[in-house]
């Protein structure tokens, strides 16, 4: 079930009402049932897969916690990690790794294995990358002694499957989410009100802006060679904001839905286009993933305390993995690596240029946004050839004749979204909206509702990160 679906807007109030009608002790059971229903609404088989991997992680964490012997603890840890990564590989990367090899062909010929090829080729279990990472973080935290393992399997299942953050994050840590899921809580109007504010603003960003941008960008990428230089830049610019507002909108929807149950999810974005360097950008963009990579990859392989060579290796490893995490495609690997190089450029070269001037500060922001925007071409292109073609056009060596068509309304929505996010909101949407005078606040709500209902994008696009 997607947040931008009619079904979800019936599902959410029903789950919410029943949750608070139930006695406190069994509320979490209801939430667990609702979360599995939410996930299996899309495909029942994938709920089974999530159940299986969750069980493995829960069991492994319990076993490693019980044991005092290091090799046993390590065995359980790696068993959990490798089984998680194995599942991820099987469903997300297997088909990519096999390509058109003879093994792939013979697997497709066999009645017993053909389904694996079909699944890998056509469908990825929704959110598998998110809940797998969340689950891995739990096992590692237990291994490190940062968390005590959850004794109850169903309670652990709820930590992994909590529906607001299940399919596209934020990737929450066990300690933070678990304590909230089972805490005594009475519904508070303040939380409900703030949750609703986040929901409506998130839906506006996704449906009214990102989905409309998606239509324009899709048209461009259907045949980039027919567009001229300016159009290519415009499409690249629009795609940057499509991805951002799509995922930012999703994150707000997730936070809003969770807040209705009194659960505060972490902020996943913090005005990334105000960043002055790529390292800073990744502290502001998809924060839950960046911090996950920091804690479970970057620091364990050496981090920034062991000299520049180790640092460069750690950065490149993180961005290579992060690129692959985004999708089983060579273009995603290019995207990840390009981020890595830009990160190192900013970290080792650009950082050393110190000029005290407002203009220089603005320039750094524009440069960072531009760098990110340009590398997103890899993210959007289906193949390296297509990415090359778009880059050629951006450099003006292959001028098409057509202009990209972007309606006035789309520009208006984009400006409203960006201005609200970057220039006005110093805080999150819910608290910022709350400080506005009644008339202004409700005028904005009416604007959001009208935009969603009358002008929402008609292109059939799930959330961009939903497929990861």
């Amino acid at each position: 079930m997607l947040f931008n679906s009619v079904e979800f807007w019936f599902f959410l109030p029903i789950v919410w009402l029943v949750y608070f009608v139930m006695p406190f002790k069994i509320r979490w059971v209801w939430l667990l049932i609702a979360s599995y229903y939410f996930y299996s609404y899309w495909k029942l088989e994938f709920a089974g897969l999530m159940l299986f991997t969750s069980f493995l992680d829960w069991f492994a964490a319990k076993q490693l916690h019980k044991s005092e012997i290091k090799w046993k603890r390590l065995t359980w840890l790696w068993l959990a990690i490798l089984s998680d990564i194995g599942m991820l590989f099987l469903f997300k990367y297997f088909n990519f790794a096999l390509g058109d090899s003879n093994l792939a062909k013979s697997m497709y010929q066999s009645q017993w294995t053909a389904w694996i090829i079909e699944l890998g080729k056509y469908t990825i279990p929704a959110g598998i990358s998110f809940y797998t990472f969340q689950s891995i973080s739990y096992v590692v935290d237990v291994y490190r002694g940062d968390e005590t393992p959850e004794k109850s399997l169903p309670k652990f299942l709820l930590y992994v499957s909590f529906f607001p953050q299940l399919v596209a994050g934020p990737i929450e840590r066990f300690g933070r989410l678990h304590s909230q899921l089972f805490a005594q809580y009475s519904p508070r109007w303040e939380d409900v009100r703030n949750g609703l504010r986040l929901l409506i603003f998130g839906l506006f960003l996704k449906v009214a802006i990102a989905d409309n941008l998606a239509g324009v960008v899709d048209d461009f990428y259907a045949n980039p060679s027919k567009y001229n230089l300016l159009s290519t830049w415009v499409a690249t610019f629009l795609f940057t904001f499509q991805v951002y507002l799509d995922f930012f909108g999703y994150s707000l929807l997730a936070q809003g839905a969770a807040l209705l149950f009194g659960i505060h999810l972490m902020d996943n974005f913090n005005k990334p286009f105000l960043a002055k360097s790529i390292p800073e950008f990744w502290h502001r963009w998809h924060i839950s993933l960046s911090t996950w990579f920091r804690d479970y990859v970057f620091i364990p392989v050496g981090g920034n305390k062991n000299g520049p060579v180790v640092l460069a290796f750690a950065v490149m490893l993180v961005f290579f993995t992060s690129g692959l995490w985004h999708g089983a495609n060579i273009t995603m690997i290019y995207f990840g690596l390009s981020q890595g190089f830009l990160y190192l450029f900013d970290r080792f070269i650009f950082k050393n240029i110190q000029i005290q001037s407002v203009v220089w500060e603005r320039f750094k922001q524009i440069k960072t946004g531009l760098f990110f925007m340009i590398t997103l071409v890899f993210f959007r292109s289906g193949t390296i050839e297509q990415a090359k073609l778009v880059y050629k056009q951006m450099l003006g060596s292959n001028l098409g004749i057509e202009n990209i068509h972007v309606g006035l309304l789309i520009w208006l929505f984009l400006i409203v979204g960006v201005v609200l996010d970057n220039n006005i909101m110093k805080e999150r949407a819910d608290s910022w909206l709350g400080k506005l005078p009644f008339i202004a606040r409700w005028s904005l709500y009416v604007f959001f509702i009208g935009s969603i209902a009358m002008f929402g994008g008609a292109v059939n696009h799930p959330f961009v990160y939903f497929q990861f």
């Binding site: 931008n4 389904w115 079909e118 056509y122 469908t123 519904p187 449906v207 969603i452």
Partner: protein
């Protein structure tokens, strides 16, 4: 909790008022352009239901013709109008449409005021619906075009227009994407047993004899056939025919259920309903598979539909064995794919068969009609491209 619910109720009330206001604005200012943009034939359906004595709902079979050689370009419904000038024939044609979408078109009938509110018609309107056997098969059911068709069909409703627009924004239709449809199609081809079995749900025993258990094993066998005398065009055609026609209808088939619902809706509205079964290209099917394996699927599915139509009490124009469609294979305009696209001879013959059923006991000997806006009609038209491909097939003795 009570206070929270009151707060929410107040806000919901306000949102409802806003929604009503926006609905008014949207209906007045934006709805018409959205219909143009997202649902091209919606206005055509409205007009057809309002003005037609006979409304012909069809897919591309109605209008397709060979643009190079077919001197008569009239559609089946155009011919029908020429034969029955006393009645107004209106047609709604949309490529790759199927009963599930025709069913939704009926929501725009003037006698339905709200989706659940039926009123008997007083004007004896006749609805003619083309039934294409191929459209019931997995290739058509899991078509990659379905999401865009369903998006258009959102507008085939009398719900408040802003609600329709909101449903469009929130993708409240079957929006499974082309990749997912392809997966389902491959899964069907791989897993559904189509091999030798007795079938008895058509009122008579029918035995399907085929050594291939699934569509996949069948097309794999075709693909691995290395005979050098087998032209690639013929192999591709055989592959397409198996994928399109090798299936067995039953009552769970989604299209069969849609057809049944159409009968029920038309009964409620007291509309006269005619299903007309379109002729598939049996000559190709026979030539490719030696009058054997494939044709038995076509025949079985035809018998199944005929039996169900008779059980449901619906009038049927049966053109499955239309002589004009079995005389010359070149009368099918597509020689590279198993579409039901006909030349003027077949389109005209279908129209004639419809007239005889529409007029019933009052049927008359039809005078030949000659549309005036074209060149001189030539019903024995030769189709060079078609004939050359037929020539390719003749190089092969049998494919099997």
């Amino acid at each position: 909790m009570k206070t929270i619910l009151i707060h929410i109720a107040i806000r919901l009330g306000f949102v409802a008022i806003v929604f009503i206001g926006f609905n008014f604005i949207y209906q007045k200012e934006f709805y018409a352009s959205d219909v143009q943009k997202y649902s091209m034939v919606k206005n055509r359906i409205d007009s057809a239901f309002h003005n037609g004595d006979i409304v012909y709902l069809g897919e591309s079979s109605n209008t397709s013709y060979n643009p190079w050689t077919d001197t008569l370009k009239e559609s089946i419904s155009d011919f029908l109008q020429l034969y029955i000038p006393s009645q107004k024939v209106e047609a709604v044609t949309h490529e790759s449409y199927h009963p599930g979408l025709f069913k939704q078109m009926l929501n725009l009938q003037p006698n339905i005021h709200l989706p659940w509110e039926f009123m008997a018609s007083h004007d004896d309107q006749t609805i003619i619906l083309g039934v294409n056997i191929r459209t019931c098969g997995p290739t058509a059911v899991f078509s990659g075009n379905e999401a865009s068709n369903q998006q258009e069909a959102l507008f085939y409703s009398k719900r408040p227009s802003l609600l329709t627009r909101l449903f469009l924004s929130l993708k409240y239709y079957d929006h499974r994407d082309a990749l997912e449809m392809e997966r389902l199609k491959f899964q069907w081809w791989r897993s559904v047993d189509i091999s030798g079995k007795y079938l008895s749900n058509i009122g008579q025993d029918y035995y399907i004899s085929n050594k291939y258990k699934t569509v996949k094993t069948w097309i794999d066998a075709l693909a691995s056939d290395q005979r050098p005398e087998l032209p690639v065009q013929v192999k591709n055609m055989a592959d397409a025919y198996v994928k399109e026609f090798a299936f067995l209808l039953d009552d769970d088939n989604v299209r069969v259920q849609d057809l049944k619902e159409i009968v029920s809706i038309c009964n409620k509205l007291s509309l006269r309903l005619i299903f007309h079964i379109l002729p598939p290209n049996k000559q190709h099917a026979n030539a490719l598979f030696n009058h054997c394996e494939l044709i038995q699927y076509l025949d079985y599915n035809y018998l199944f539909l005929k039996k169900r139509f008779s059980e449901w009490g619906v009038t049927v124009v049966d053109n499955y064995n239309l002589p004009e469609a079995n005389e010359k294979v070149s009368r099918f305009t597509d020689q590279w794919y198993p579409t039901e696209h006909y030349d003027a001879t077949i389109r005209k013959a279908i129209a004639k068969s419809l007239v005889s059923v529409i007029e019933g006991q009052n049927s008359r000997t039809l005078k030949e009609v000659f549309p005036t806006r074209n060149n001189e009609p030539n019903f024995n038209i030769k189709m060079p491209y078609s004939d050359s491909l037929i020539g390719v097939w003749k190089q092969v003795k049998w494919l099997k």
